[in-house]
Symmetry: C2
Subunit: 201 residues, 2 copies
């Protein structure tokens, strides 16, 4: 005999497949859902189904979209000639919060990772090349994460994918975080901050 009723076991199992949810968390969430009103639990189930039915990836930039194209691609106020390449749609949210970037995006839906067998063919890199070839793009900013996988992916795109095109290719600046402390910066970041030093304005 299992410890719980079968439907509870099934739910704990399904919750345990979610990223960052271990067996103990899955159990806690399942019992929470068992205790709350049926309408509240149902609202979560409905939200999952509604999202899967109504949200897809933008056909042009692979951001999340409710129709064929995302809200940014269909915004006439955005500069269509500057392209920001990011790993995931959530990176767009982070960049949009800055209010600094007025161009459009291209989401790779992942990052190159040889250890996990993720190569350029698993990402939207071919689609990026097709876009740069077909659209009137003057600058591509590579905004992958400043870690090993992100740097490798950015280097691959710059040297192998965008080299044949006449576009300006740039990378996000590395350096000290605003409000940070020299003493606690790691040597790589501090080294990058030194290399990237600029005139005092």
């Amino acid at each position: 005999m299992s410890a719980y009723a079968r439907p509870v076991e099934v739910l704990i199992d399904e919750l345990g497949r979610l990223p960052g949810i271990g067996p103990k968390s899955a159990q806690r969430i399942a019992f929470h859902l068992l205790k709350v009103d049926t309408v509240d639990a149902r609202r979560l189930a409905d939200a999952i189904v509604a999202m899967k039915e109504n949200v897809t990836f933008c056909e042009r930039c692979y951001n999340v979209a409710e129709g064929a194209n995302c809200a940014i691609c269909t915004d006439p106020a955005r500069d269509q000639s500057i392209l920001c390449v990011v790993e995931e749609p959530k990176d767009i949210a982070a960049l949009e919060k800055t209010g600094v970037f007025k161009g459009v995006y291209h989401v790779l839906l992942g990052v190159m990772n040889p250890l996990e067998g993720i190569g350029p063919e698993n990402l939207k890199i071919r689609e990026l090349a097709l876009r740069v070839a077909a659209e009137d793009i003057t600058e591509v900013i590579l905004c992958t994460n400043p870690n090993l996988e992100g740097e490798m992916t950015a280097a691959f795109i710059a040297s192998k994918v965008l080299a044949p095109f006449e576009v300006k290719v740039s990378r996000l600046a590395s350096g000290l975080p605003v409000g940070g402390d020299l003493e606690y910066a790691d040597e790589l970041t501090l080294g990058r901050a030194l290399e990237g030093r600029h005139g005092f304005s």
Copy 2:
């Protein structure tokens, strides 16, 4: 304009209401569900609905149950005269794993917590008194957690609820965990272990 499509925002909001899920985790889970196959996401939604439809609390002991009574209450092999009082159904799973207890359970569905306004009237304590009055129970083991709230609840039940009845009332032993180390035990636990010392066998 919000950063994501509306159904994604709704799902992130709903996920954020779950215990132990912060805004970042909710976002990560939502994007995970966006990426996986629709059947996989649907399976999670269905598991939530199925559990809410098929699982309730046992009418007798408030454990999770698929029918009116739970699997333990309906098991003829269990000793119906020994009652183990626990806070939550998940505590039953922990006790069952030991294989030591052959009696039945009573779940309080919570613990007394004056700071959060949870008093005896919010728990299944009245139901416990009715059970002890109506059923042929000889011993009640108070298995609430060995923390402030659990001890308070156990003390309340022992002194105010079970005192009028002729039942043996016991509490789980406190002491050093098996495989533990004297040096690292906190003074309260070590004090309890000393108080609870028993003859060398």
